[in-house]
């Protein structure tokens, strides 16, 4: 293969570049989310994440202490002065411009002195120090408003994660998702393994029909099952509960599980199973002692599939679980946040990243099994 790809260096470069472009296109969206989730929320809302390493320009307004406040106004020689720093309340950065009315928030350069119509002289330095001077004593219950454009250094923080985990309910939803996922991944495996063995190595009437049925059921749309099962659950009193969703995920995952495991078990060498039978082992013993240990790769493939599917599922969880604190899973919570916190990207990005972190970890750690499962699972 290598020799064919191209003796021509230009072609090889084109290949490298195209792949690089594809990789960038495919990773950039996730990367942007990740970077954004660590940014300071004020910076995140005014500048793109690709600028996160440069300083951010932000327009800010502060109100300086009112002249009537105690100690706000000081007499220096013959002038009355109100002075301080615009960052007294927090923040940092370099000020490039300032203004005294909301219509012209950046009318003057830092360091300039502005005279108002009341005769007050106002200046704001680059460092944020401001000074208001007046020849007569200033009065008023409300302080002067100062608008300024500040160049803030990049700020990265874990605050967004703290907020979503503890006060936006993502932490609780994380546990709920785990509660759904773990049993829903483990329970179908054993059931499917026994069925797969029976369909692969046991002879009985109706086997061909059952195999065809399993293959057919793989593609049955979930939508089909929702209403009948919802009604059934209400009738027999399962209602909206974890047991209901575990069974539902088991049911929906079973056709693929049986199909994968049956194909794998059928591909095991015939001699092993037949010689065990000659030695007098029963089907049950053969299954437990020989087939199950040999099928580990197929079991792992299916487990990853089912894990990713149940972890990422929204539909089944919305239908079979309640919309309350005890049962709302992460995908459901994320969808709610998209509705209620649509503009708060610091919350959305951090929440989304918490919810995709686990599947991404599983994906990168166990990719080998996932690929093998995909190759075996796509019905030929």
């Amino acid at each position: 293969m290598d020799g064919i790809a191209g003796r021509k260096p230009a072609l090889i470069w084109a290949v490298h570049l195209s792949v690089a472009l594809l990789v960038i296109l495919w990773t950039l969206p996730t990367f942007g989310l990740l970077v954004s989730s660590f940014r300071d929320k004020d910076q995140l809302s005014v500048s793109g994440w690709w600028t996160s390493l440069t300083s951010t320009e932000r327009n800010v307004m502060v109100r300086v202490p009112a002249p009537n406040d105690d100690g706000a106004q000081v007499l220096e020689g013959s002038v009355y002065v109100i002075a301080g720093n615009v960052f007294d309340e927090g923040g940092a950065g370099d000020i490039s411009a300032f203004g005294i009315s909301s219509r012209e928030p950046g009318a003057y350069e830092a360091g300039e002195v502005v005279t108002t119509k009341d005769g007050e002289r106002i200046s704001v330095q680059e460092s944020g120090d401001y000074r208001i001077e007046s020849d007569v004593e200033m009065t008023g219950k409300r302080g002067q408003r100062l608008f300024f454009t500040v160049l803030e250094p990049p700020l990265f923080t874990l605050d967004n994660y703290r907020t979503v985990l503890w006060s936006e309910g993502i932490g609780k939803s994380f546990l709920n998702t785990m509660t759904v996922t773990i049993p829903a991944t483990v329970i179908p495996i054993l059931i499917a393994a026994f069925a797969g063995y029976a369909l692969a190595w046991m002879r009985f009437p109706g086997r061909t029909f059952l195999v065809a049925m399993v293959v057919g059921l793989i593609v049955v749309p979930l939508q089909m099952s929702l209403i009948p099962l919802l009604r059934l659950y209400t009738d027999i009193g399962i209602g909206k509960s974890y047991i209901g969703i575990w069974l539902a995920h088991t049911g929906f995952g079973l056709p693929l599980a049986i199909y994968l495991l049956r194909n794998y078990i059928k591909s095991l060498p015939k001699e092993i199973i037949e010689s065990a039978k000659v030695d007098g082992a029963s089907d049950f013993e053969i299954f437990v002692k020989i087939v199950l240990p040999l099928s580990f790769p197929a079991l792992a493939s299916f487990a990853i599939f089912q894990f990713l599917w149940t972890w990422n599922d929204l539909l089944v969880a919305t239908v079979f679980l309640g919309n309350n604190e005890e049962q709302l899973v992460m995908t459901g919570r994320l969808r709610e946040l998209l509705g209620s916190r649509g503009g708060n990207w610091e919350i959305l990005t951090a929440s989304a990243f918490v919810s995709i972190a686990v599947p991404l970890g599983v994906f990168f750690a166990l990719q080998r099994y996932l690929v093998r499962g995909l190759l075996a699972g796509s019905v030929k």
Partner: protein, 329 residues
Amino acid sequence: MEQLLLAFGSMALGVGACVLYFWGSNRLLDLALPPRSRNAADNIRRANMIRPWLFLGPAVIILSAYLVYPVFNSIYLSFHGRSGDVYVGLDNYRWLFADAGFRESIFNNLLWLVVVPSASTFFGLIAAALTDRISWGNIAKSLIFMPMAISFVGASVIWKFIYDVRAADVEQIGLLNAIVVFFGGEPQAWIALPFWNNFFLMIILIWIQTGFAMVILSAALRGIPEETVEAAVLDGANPFQIFMKIKVPQIWGTIAVVWTTITILVLKVFDIVLAMTNGQWGTQVLANFMFDWMFRGLDFGRSATIALVIMALVVPIMIWNIREAQKDG
């Protein structure tokens, strides 16, 4: 925390019950029909008739309850009123075909069915062909494959951030609008842009599914016999001709598999539309339309009818799959 204990407890209980069932039922069978006794041959024969059903029992019961019964129950419900008790004849079907929302959904679904499988397969094929030729191909593959692990809702958040729009006079924080503005364009509310917004939603699914197509197609490309390629090289074919005329024709079967698998997924896709637009601005699709009538319309008859339409669209693929599987034996 209690909940996790509950989860682990139930898991242990569920697995325990399974083990107990399989072990116990097999043991009972051996006791009832002992293989070492006077009429051993008879017993073994009879036990062998029963045993497969012990192995298959739980699977058959669960499959029947969760997938087979609902098909028939949905057909029944589609002829009944909103709570499923009153017989209404063909009313639901008549309503469906007259409904504007349904026509919009069908139209959009057809659009999705045309665009998403072809685009994903196309990009997947390109990615597979290119990554197989370079040293860092495996890393590239795993990065392109990565979105596969991300949930549809998570992907929706990621892309909604890219499509984010701000007023024209402030800095854009959505990547797409920032690029548009950089080149002198006007920022757009992409997901509210009539007709074209469908494509912006489709991009999300294409982004997720390309990795899947790539993995399967790359395995197929590697399975192509070397001799065919070498012969073409000797005949003076250039790499592009080799790919289009020698390699692609040999993997048509796999391309079809990838195509149908993504097609089925497209028919079921609902999370993306729900999270991005909830069917507003002309983006409704069947699966979300059905969900709407179930959850907000609270009309079981109508939503069962919509579910049957989705089912009907899947049936041809289902039959084809069964035929192919039977050929393999």
